[in-house]
Symmetry: C2
Subunit: 192 residues, 2 copies
């Protein structure tokens, strides 16, 4: 998606540890109109699938998931990162290792929001080691639901997640795939 690559080149900041900060438009401050274009692009890519639900993980996936859901006319469900007082006991649970935050956390999702009838599109802002998508996929499998696709805004192509998911046959589309990044340059994969 050319507009996204241009935006990353203009506003993204590369930080030590292969961190790409896009917090001015994606995951701290949110350019909602730009995210709407991203939602439209995900719709274009996945509209032939019988999507009944869009699944993401709090927090930074929520905005993109909602913008995308507007085009599919389906609900969003977001998995939560810790047990809270007002979640029922009846939850799916998995473990995710966050690359950015450098820690492991429980991810839970109330069983009533994912059933065998559901056809699920996973939306997330970043794909690095693929742990978040793997965790969500496990929950979808446990629910007996069907994974229809995975839509990622920015894939770090130099990490393993994208390769692993494609090898498993997952219907993965990343709007921008970064092959390498240094302080001075972000290099995108040609076909992304």
């Amino acid at each position: 998606m050319d507009a996204l690559k241009e935006r990353i080149l203009r506003d993204g900041k590369v930080r030590p540890g292969n961190i790409l900060k896009v917090d001015s438009f994606l995951n701290h401050q949110i350019d909602v109109e730009f995210l709407n274009e991203i939602g439209q692009e995900f719709y274009r890519l996945f509209k032939d699938r019988p999507v009944t639900k869009i699944l993401t993980i709090e927090s930074s996936g929520i905005a993109a998931a909602c913008m995308t859901a507007q085009y599919f006319h389906v609900p969003v469900v977001f998995a939560k990162k810790a047990q809270t007082k007002n979640l029922d006991g009846s939850v799916y649970r998995t473990i995710v290792r966050s690359y950015t935050h450098g820690k492991v956390y429980d991810v839970i999702l109330s069983r009533k929001f994912l059933t065998p009838d559901d056809h699920v599109l996973i939306i997330d802002d970043f794909l690095a080691n693929g742990c978040a998508v793997e965790g969500l996929s496990e929950i979808i499998t446990e629910a007996g639901a069907t994974l229809e696709g995975v839509g990622i805004i920015i894939e770090k192509g130099f990490q393993e997640g994208g390769k692993m998911l494609r090898e498993k046959g997952v219907n993965l589309h990343s709007l921008a795939v970064i092959d390498s990044m240094t302080d001075n340059a972000v290099i995108f994969r040609e076909d992304s």
Copy 2:
């Protein structure tokens, strides 16, 4: 907002400890089209204010903030609940006590996303003791920005937050104010 009160009566569940679960449409599963109506209603209520930014706290405020921002054509900024590796050191910081989660946490917001030129509308899903709004207000004050209003989806009118904010002269609109709730009944304030 009548559609909201009807939805709460239909899908909300009262739990011990004055917890109202609306996780089937608001803060775990999200009915994006309904949230769009909520965004339109906030726009109707605050459109006369010169809003330049919508401010909320992760996670459950993000969806409503984004839906509202679409009508104002302004960015969303969401405050984050913990220091992460990819936030700059240059942040506003305050402390919030969550009623629902029963704990105290740090809230941070990158200084570059709130300046003295900003006119801010705070959007959140719940108002109970008012700590989240107070924390965000402190950040707005510290930034030298202007608080134009506070839009709340569900106010627990039997807790102190709403009263405290109105006494301070805050331009607060809650789309549904609950005066009392028991296992069998949710009673709304007449004028809400």
